[in-house]
Every structure is written in C-alpha cells, then in structure tokens.
C-alpha cells in the first residue's frame, strides 16, 4: 500500500532498456531477413550476374558480407533520430502541437557545443597531447552547455511565440512555430557571421572518437571487408540510451513527471491539483530543448560538419520517427528512430545493387516516408501510439 511512495522505482528505470533491446534486435532481424530473402531471389537474375561480373562474388554472399556493417550504421543513425525525436514527442505529448522549431533548437545545441569545443581547441585544452579523460570531460561539458542554451532557447520560444496562442485554433501555433524556425535559422547564421564569419562549423578532431574498433574482417569472395565501429558511434548510442532512460524515469516516476502527464491530459483539472500549468509547460520545453541540444552535439560528433540550416532534415526525419512510433510516446520515438535509421541504411546500401543502379541511395528518403504511410494505414496512431480520441 505504501509502495507508490517509494523513492526510486528500479523497474521504471530498467523497463526502457529491455524494450530497447527487443526493438533493436527485432527490427534488425526483420530487415535482415527481408534483405537476405531478396538476395536469394535476385541471386540468379541479371542483378546477381552484374555483381558477379564486378566483384566475383554471388549477390547473396555480397549481402551477407555487408550485413553487419549495415546493421551497425543503421542502428547508430537510428539512435541519432531517436535522440532528436524524444524532444518532439515530449512537447507533442503535453501540448499536442508540432514544435517545428525543434530542428533549430537542435542546431543551437550543436552550435553552442561545437563553438565551445573549438574555443577549447584553440586554447590548447583539447587536441593533441590532452589526456583522454579530460577529452571526455570537455565533451560532456560542451554537451551540458549546449543543453542549457538549447533548453533556455526553447523556454524563451514557448513564452514568446506559443504561450499567447494556447487557446487559438490548432494551425495557428504551427505557423508560429514555422516562423520561429525561420527566424532562428537566420539568427544562428547572423550570430555566426558576426562572430566567426563562418558558415560551416567543424567538430574539432580530438580524443579517440574517430578511432575505430575493429571486430575483424569478413570474407567476401576473394576480398575481405573490414568490420569496424567508430568509438563515436558507441558514444552516440550510449548517450541516446541514457537520455531515454533518464527521461523515462523523469516522466513516469517523479513528481514533476506526474505533473507533466496530468497537464498533458487535462490542463484545467491539473491546475485544480495545484499544478502551475504554465510552469509545467515551460519545464516540458526545457526538457525537450535540452534533449534536442544534446542530440545536436551528438549529431555534430558523428557527422562532423554543421551549418545554420543543419537542423532541417534530421528534424524532419526525427519527426517522422516520432510519428511512426506513435507521437507522444517516449518508447515509440525510440522505436520509430531505430526503424527509420535501419531502413534508410538498408535502402542506401542495397537498393542500388538490387536494382542494378536504376534506383539507388537517393530513394532512401522515399523509403522512410513510404514505411510511415504504410504503418499509419494499419495503425493510424503509430506503432505504439494510443488512440488520442479515447481521451476522456
């Protein structure tokens, strides 16, 4: 009976980890089976012949040999999407509103983090000769700073552009968000061009993030393919998992989390409980923004180059991931991200081979949206989404 008052609920902490492993393995297995089946079917067609002529291996052997690398790349990308999607889903869950400017919050986090790291590099604190431990400390500090600024920006944005529109028709805050998004893109560009004069910013090379851990070589016919994973992929995955676990705990097992969920369901009644609705919404934006900022730095770490418009496509994909998984649902965002990341990487890696160059990596975005439409036909609220209209 006093159970619910217990300070830390271990189950709540671990549950997402289990789900995550199931999702990753599940989607990876399903996609692998599809690809292998396709490879068997196409093995004796013109596509198979073409590969054999080029590389002296069968299409099936080619597919198998590349599979581990594709899976790892796909999962890493998936976790990047998931990290961004968490912010979308947080805000949507509470306000039922697509925060279009989340992409720019993401970009702000990336820029703040990268600028700090560049400054540290110029000061000689990171880079050649610095200790590995300090490299990680500085990376974390840069990420925290990015989170703080991005979270602050998200709060300011909510206060100025969304709060006055709380009771307006649904499309109005959406347009306002698009306006904020445009504004922030150019604001970042203006700030950068006034301070550094640069458009492209590059994540500095330091620490051991670029180093790859080699798991061996996979034979493919006479050749051997290296199978290796860069350390930064591990960092991305671990950070994204940590973000999910902490967020999940925060929302499901703390007082603030309960208040957030109460506000999401019924603002008037929540205020009768003594919950300051505006305060909770601001906190939601703070959390969503901080997550977006962290995702921004992870993105910069993984993909090196950022510019003021960097947020747009990852934002779009992450939003798709959130919807795919069931927007408003934290685990759904993760699942959607993993599926999207894997699917894109699979399409990008194999499509060109399977179609003999008629369609290639350029169609990977179409796959992303096609799977979305397909899922929504059968599950109109996303994979893990609840039926919104059932809301009492």
């Amino acid at each position: 009976m006093k159970k619910y008052l217990k300070p830390i609920n271990l189950m709540e902490l671990l549950r997402p980890l289990g789900q995550l492993i199931v999702f990753s393995l599940g989607s990876a297995a399903v996609l692998s089976i599809i690809v292998l089946a396709l490879a068997i079917v196409l093995n004796n067609t013109a596509a198979g012949d073409k590969i054999f002529a080029q590389l002296k291996v069968s299409l099936f052997a080619y597919t198998v040999a590349n599979l581990p690398q594709v899976l790892v790349d796909g999962l890493t990308l998936g976790f990047v999407y998931a990290a961004i999607a968490l912010g979308y889903t947080m805000v949507y869950g509470v306000l039922e509103f697509i925060n279009f400017a989340h992409s720019e919050i993401f970009a702000i986090g990336a820029f703040v983090g990268v600028e700090i790291l560049i400054a540290l590099q110029n000061a000689g604190l990171i880079g050649s000769g610095s200790s590995l431990f300090m490299d990680y400390v500085f990376l974390i500090l840069a990420m925290l700073a990015g989170m703080a600024v991005a979270g602050g920006a998200a709060i300011a944005m909510e206060r100025i552009a969304y709060r006055p529109l709380r009771n307006a028709p649904r499309l109005v805050p959406l347009i306002s968000a698009i306006g904020v998004s445009f504004f922030l893109q150019d604001a970042i560009r203006l700030t950068e061009s006034l301070t550094t004069g640069q458009f492209n910013r590059i994540f500095p090379t330091f620490g051991n993030f670029d180093k790859r851990i080699t798991f061996g070589k996979i034979p493919m016919g006479a050749a051997e393919l290296p199978f290796s994973v860069p350390i930064k992929s591990f960092i991305v995955i671990i950070a994204a998992v940590l973000m999910l676990v902490v967020l999940n705990y925060l929302v499901n097992a703390t007082k603030v989390g309960k208040a957030i969920r109460a506000v999401a369901q019924d603002r008037a009644t929540a205020s009768l409980m003594g919950i300051d609705v505006n305060h909770i919404i601001a906190i939601t934006f703070l959390i969503g923004g901080a997550l977006g900022g962290a995702a921004g730095l992870l993105y910069a770490l993984k993909f090196t180059r950022i510019d003021p418009y960097v947020g747009f496509y990852p934002g779009l994909k992450a939003f798709t991931a959130a919807v795919l998984g069931g927007i408003g649902n934290l685990t759904g965002a993760l699942l959607g991200g993993i599926i999207l990341g894997l699917l894109e990487t699979f399409a990008g890696s194999y499509l060109s081979i399977f179609t003999m160059g008629a369609a290639g990596v350029e169609y990977k975005d179409i796959f992303a949206f096609a799977i979305l439409i397909l899922v929504l036909i059968f599950r109109p609220n996303g994979l893990l989404g609840e039926n919104v209209t059932e809301k009492v």
Partner: protein, 411 residues
C-alpha cells in the same frame, strides 16, 4: 474592423500622394523606389543575383561579395569618365520564382547594364530568358549546365567550363593516372549531376570500369554509400558537387579505411574542405580536384584576390567568389568599351551585351577569356590540383598536377 481597414487604406492613399508630392527626397519614397537614392544620368549599376538567404547562401553571398570587390577595385576608369558604378545585389533564394521576378525588376531598372549571376542553373535558365528579351548582358560565374548557352542567346555568357568539359577533364585525369575503376557520386543538383554524368561517359570511353553511379542530397550521413564503395573497392571515387558534401564524404570514407583516390570538381576548391576532412585528404592515394582558377600560390592575381577578399569580408572566399569577381570585371570592361564606342555617353544595353561578347583576351584572375558565338569561353584552361596539406591555412599551397586547355563543344 472592416471599415477601419478601408479607412486605413484611404489614409494610405492620401499619405502616398503627399509623399509623392513632396518629391523623392524623403527616405520613405526612396526605400520604396527600388531605384537609386540619387538617380542621376551617370549612375551605372551592375546587378548580382544569387541566393543570399537560405541554406545555399554561403556560396551566394560570396558571389555577391566577389562582384562587390570587383566594383570596388576596378571601377576607377569608369569613375574617371564621370560615371558612378554601383552594385545592386538581388536575392534569388535559389528559387526560380524569385529569380524571374528579380530579373524582371532588374530589367525594369534602366541603370542596370549587366547581370552577374546566378548560382543555380535551375534559376539561371528561366531568369536569363528575361535578360534575353530585354537585351541585357548576363555573365554567369557558376552555371555549368549546357542549356545556359546552347540556346544561343547573344546576351548570355559564362566564364565557367561546361559540365560536358569539366567532367571530361576529371575522367581524363583519372585515366592518365592509370586508374582502372571508379565510383561516381554527385549531389543531385543540376551542377553536380551534370558533371558526374559527363565524367561517367568519358570514363567509360577511356576504358575505366564504372562500379557505381549514385546521387544523394544527404549532407551528413554517407555510411550506406561508403558501404557500397568499400565493397566495390574502386581505385578512385569521383564526387560531382560542392565541398560541403564531398569533404564530409571523403573523410567518412577514409575513416572507414578506403585507400583509393578522391577526385572532385571546382566546387571542392575551398579551404573549408581541409577544415572538414583535414589530413584524411592526404591519406591513401590523395585528393584531386579540377578547376578553372589556379591555386593562389602559383597565380599572383589569385593570391591577391584571396588577401583582398579576406580583408574586405573577414572570411576566405567560397568557391565561385573569384569567378564572380571576374564576371563583374568583364561587365565593367564591356561597359567601359561600350561607353568609349558611344563617345563617352551612356551606352545602350545592346551595346554592352555586344561588348561582352566581343571582349578580346580579357585577363581575369581565373584565366584569360574570349567568348564564342554562344557565350562559352573559347578555350578554358583547366587545372587539376592536388591537395597538399590538411591544414586549411595551407590551401593555397595546393599544387597543379595537370593543366589542360579544352575548347567547349562547338556551338
């Protein structure tokens, strides 16, 4: 409320009458009048059109800046003749609708004698229809799409090589280096894809095996493509497009252990490429790019341009800034010739357009230019340059490994 807006409009009418009555000296009317604040008979304007906002603005702004620098530095002779030269920078937003509307606005301003632009072929082609019908000279600093000149307009010129030349240069270079197999990539823009297509054709003609041909708009995550590249293991990878994608891809491929040669085009010519990819450009078989403008270290004019540009705008010039400088310089030279031919009077647009086409051996910072009958540079000099250092500051020390003079296909 409705009536209030009506009343407001009526007030606006009255106010604007008042403003026009006061003459055009107030700032408000001047701002409204897209013409100059001091439209006298002797103002000549050169318009630039490029994307100044949006994600392609990084190149577009430097196209504008290149033109600005040319006007600042080279309009002396025209000033001495009693003319004021100004730049009118237009933002085409990389969007044909904006480009065409701006073109019509440019055409409507009689002081504009020459247009330096655009960046996107998709904008240049419809916009130049407007320049053509108004007889206004257009010198393009960046549009490599064959259609730009194959329409045969007397007003439309370019100083960059066509896709069907630059791609060929890259392929010839690869063949000359003994490369046997190549993987071709492009950025899905008219520019990158055009170059890549012609690279592919020439490579096949030279007996190279093309192991893959792919385009992608992706700017960050090249993992899936690199997986294909590593599996195919070509001796060289060609990327038709801009450094912001190419350098990221090259770095990711090197990190994955690809050891072959990288080749790219003039969109790669930016010290930012070294900033992105660093020493990975030097690893393996190295990185090469084809370009029409020589490296700053070897060409004194180019070196001076880079220094001046940096002093004026506080950052290194992006690709096509130098070409834009030359485009504007060609405009200025042609205007000067046309004025002389017209007894030091304001020339007509047709005269300027004709003067551009008739320029003889114009010496710019990116080469010596003569135009053929459709506006392509007659013999374009191409350099294939090898990246010599991963340090962005050393970009100007990149070395020429091949110099080619190639005429465009006959008109």
């Amino acid at each position: 409320m409705f009536k209030r807006s009506f009343a407001f409009l009526s007030l606006l009418v009255i106010a604007s009458i008042a403003l026009t009555a006061c003459g055009s000296s107030t700032p408000a009317t001047q701002a409204a009048d897209s013409g100059s604040p001091a439209t006298s008979g002797n103002v000549i304007k050169i318009a630039s059109q490029s994307p100044l906002s949006g994600d392609q603005s990084v190149i577009g702004v430097d196209i504008k800046n290149g033109a600005q620098l040319a006007i600042d530095q080279l309009s002396g002779p025209l000033k001495d003749m009693g003319f004021t030269i100004q730049l009118a920078p237009y933002d085409d937003m990389a969007n044909p609708d904006n480009g065409v509307a701006n073109a019509k606005q440019i055409v409507a301003d009689p002081a504009i004698m020459c247009v330096d632009g655009h960046y996107n072929s998709g904008v240049q082609i419809p916009s130049s229809e407007v320049y053509h019908s108004a007889g206004l000279a257009n010198v393009s600093p960046a549009n490599t799409n064959p259609t730009v000149t194959t329409r045969g307009y007397a007003e439309v010129n370019r100083i960059v090589g066509r896709d069907d030349v630059q791609g060929v240069v890259g392929a010839d270079f690869a063949a000359s280096k003994g490369v046997k197999s190549v993987y071709v990539m492009h950025d899905k823009t008219a520019y990158g894809q055009g170059i890549a297509e012609f690279f592919q054709q020439e490579a096949k003609a030279k007996g190279l095996e093309v192991l893959g041909f792919e385009g992608t708009e992706e700017k960050a995550n090249f993992d899936p493509i690199i997986t294909s590249i590593i599996a195919a293991n070509p001796e060289a990878v060609y990327f038709g497009g801009m450094f912001s994608q190419a350098a990221v891809m090259f770095k990711q491929a090197r990190d994955r252990g690809y050891e072959g040669m990288f080749i790219s085009d003039d969109g790669f010519d930016s010290s930012d490429a070294a900033k992105i990819a660093g020493d990975t450009l030097m690893a393996g078989a190295g990185t090469f790019y084809s370009t029409v403008s020589g490296p700053a270290a070897a060409y004194a004019d180019t070196a001076k341009f880079v220094t001046d540009f940096k002093a004026a705008f506080n950052h290194d010039p992006q690709p096509f800034a130098a070409q834009s400088y030359d485009s504007a310089a060609i405009c200025l030279a042609a205007i000067q010739n046309a004025i002389k031919a017209n007894n030091n009077q304001m020339p007509t647009r047709e005269a300027v357009a004709k003067a551009v086409r008739e320029l003889k051996d114009f010496k710019g910072i990116t080469g010596v230019y003569n135009f053929n009958s459709i506006g392509d540079p007659v013999v374009a000099k191409y350099f294939v340059i090898q990246v010599m250092s991963g340090d962005p500051a050393q970009w100007s020390a990149n070395e020429i490994v091949q110099t080619l003079d190639i005429a465009p296909p006959a008109p």
